[in-house]
Amino acid sequence: MSRYALRRLAQSVAVLLGVSVLVFAIMQLVPGDPVRAALGQQADPETYQALRERAGLDDPVPQQFVTWIAHAVTGDFGVSFRSGETVLSLILERVPATLSLALGAIVVALLIAIPLGTASALRPRKPVDWFASLSSQAGLSVPDFWLGIMLILVFAGTLGWLPSSGYTPLTEDPAGWLEHLILPAITAGVSSGAILTRFVRSSVLESLGQDHVRTARAKGMRARDVLTWHVLRNALVPLVTVGGVQLAYLLSGVVVVEFVFAWPGLGQLAFQAVESRDYPVLQGAVLLFAVIFLLVNLVVDLAYARLDPRITYRSAR
């Protein structure tokens, strides 16, 4: 493993430690008694005491942290104050839904970005370029929760083509899964599509100016082949990494879209945990999101360093 990869890995571990301190602090910073807040004043004293002991809340804070982190690395995030189920099982139940939505959204984003970004780069300062620029600006500015409601209004309400909310697991009914996925995936994918469109445009423009493209043209290669084999092939390699960053964002940042479509994913789990003051679940979900985000970013950075050997630790800092 290269020196860069090792240092980048060490940096991620340090950040992860900081993240875990911050996530642990959630329980400490909640005003009052978190178990009492979750269970309410009328709770059965035995249940209350059992939960306090299970969460280790009677131990000194440093010991609580060490115990919590030691359990967390083995996947034990404690039990839900509400349902009594383990946090891990609650999280694992939600993973397929979140994964479906994130992957669906990235597909939508790429379907928008590659054609639009390429077309605008091939005709800079022409109507298609203005359209792409305007669309990406609009895509970045549109509130996703509003877009979701508008899509529901048109495609579920007025036209009745698609369901307005809910989720069907892929393993149970693939057609139903796809039907339920379309509107949430468009809603979540539009802003990533806008970001990626700008990236594809600048990447294709840069690629068009390269010597090997000029050479290919000079050899008399057809414009279409030059685009496919020389321009896009080079321009889209870095898209893998930027797309990776967007995927990390989508895996962890679609809380509100899940809320609009009653999509039973991790974001909604975190949100419900806030509403019901189920702090162990909130801690587990937030920690998992941060870990996913860090991991994907790490993989993306390492992949980029491999794709572009000019990247060194110093220049990437």
Partner: protein
């Protein structure tokens, strides 16, 4: 670049001019608020509930008979206030952190930047929700939550600029003339790192307004009966098939406002900091 020259370059195209006009209109609406609203924004009139857009109620009425236009007008003040205060918090905290990290370097830089990495590791919306889980819902707490979320981006941008400025001849000259750190930072470093900070402020305002609306939409931001665009959208969602206007108009208000800040931010970037545009084109870092 002088202010007059900056403004001339900024407004040479129609889009930045249109965005600025929208924002001036928005600020006026926020200031005039109740004087501009045709009806009492919180006054209910059940006999007039769920009326479509008409000459009396341009944007229709909601499920309690409240005038949607009046509520959109009053919502402008809430959105702007939360956006401006939240960005103010992240601007002050982030710039201070960035200045210290960039100027002093070494362990100060390492500690502050690793702390900012930790904050960066949390998805923005989730971080805001977690902060509100601790502080409790409400618009003041939403400002604090959004302010915390956007602090690291200001810290990083300021630090990056300070790193290049601190090696400039005029900073070295000031140092050899015996100027203290505080004077060098205040008189020589800060004035020369403002361009990217101004650009980021405009873009962050867009995202802060979007975040406030999202938090209010899920019930953690502005609380009823105060009219907030996100809150109105959340109320309108339940009636979307009977009364589309309840969801369409507040959403349009958010969209147009955020679009205006984004367009202005982009135009500012072109004028003040063209290099950053290149650098950020592929990172997806927008907020």
């Amino acid at each position: 670049m002088r202010a007059g020259e900056t403004l001339r370059l900024l407004f040479r195209g129609p889009t930045a001019l249109a965005a600025a006009a929208v924002l001036v209109l928005l600020v006026l609406t926020a200031f005039l608020g109740e004087r501009l609203a045709p009806y009492d924004a919180t006054g209910t009139d059940v006999s007039n509930r769920l009326q479509g857009p008409s000459a009396d109620h341009w944007f229709g009425t909601d499920e309690l008979g409240r005038d949607v236009l009046s509520r959109v007008i009053l919502g402008a003040e809430v959105s702007l206030r939360v956006g401006v205060v939240a960005v103010g918090i992240s601007l002050v905290a982030g710039v201070l952190i960035g200045l210290l990290a960039g100027y002093y370097g070494r362990w100060v830089d390492d500690v502050l930047m690793r702390l900012s990495d930790v904050l960066f590791a949390f998805p923005a919306m989730l971080m805001a929700i977690a902060v509100l889980a601790i502080l409790g819902p409400g618009s003041t707490n939403a400002m604090i939550a959004i302010g915390i979320v956007y602090t690291p981006i200001f810290a990083r941008i300021t630090r990056a600029s300070v790193l290049s400025v601190r090696e400039e001849v005029y900073v070295k000259a000031a140092r050899s003339a015996g100027a203290g750190d505080l004077r060098i930072i205040g008189r020589h470093v800060l004035p020369n790192v403002t361009a990217p900070i101004i650009v980021q402020t405009s873009i962050s305002l867009a995202f802060a307004i979007l975040s406030e609306a999202a938090l209010s939409f899920v019930g953690l931001g502005t609380q009823p009966p105060d009219p907030s665009w996100g809150r109105m959208l959340s109320e309108g969602r339940g009636f979307v098939e009977q009364a589309w206007w309840m969801a369409v108009f507040p959403g349009l208000a958010i969209f147009v406002t955020v679009l205006a800040f984004n367009v202005l931010g982009d135009a500012l970037r072109d004028v003040l900091d063209p290099r950053q545009r290149q650098a950020m084109a592929g990172t997806g870092v927008t907020a």
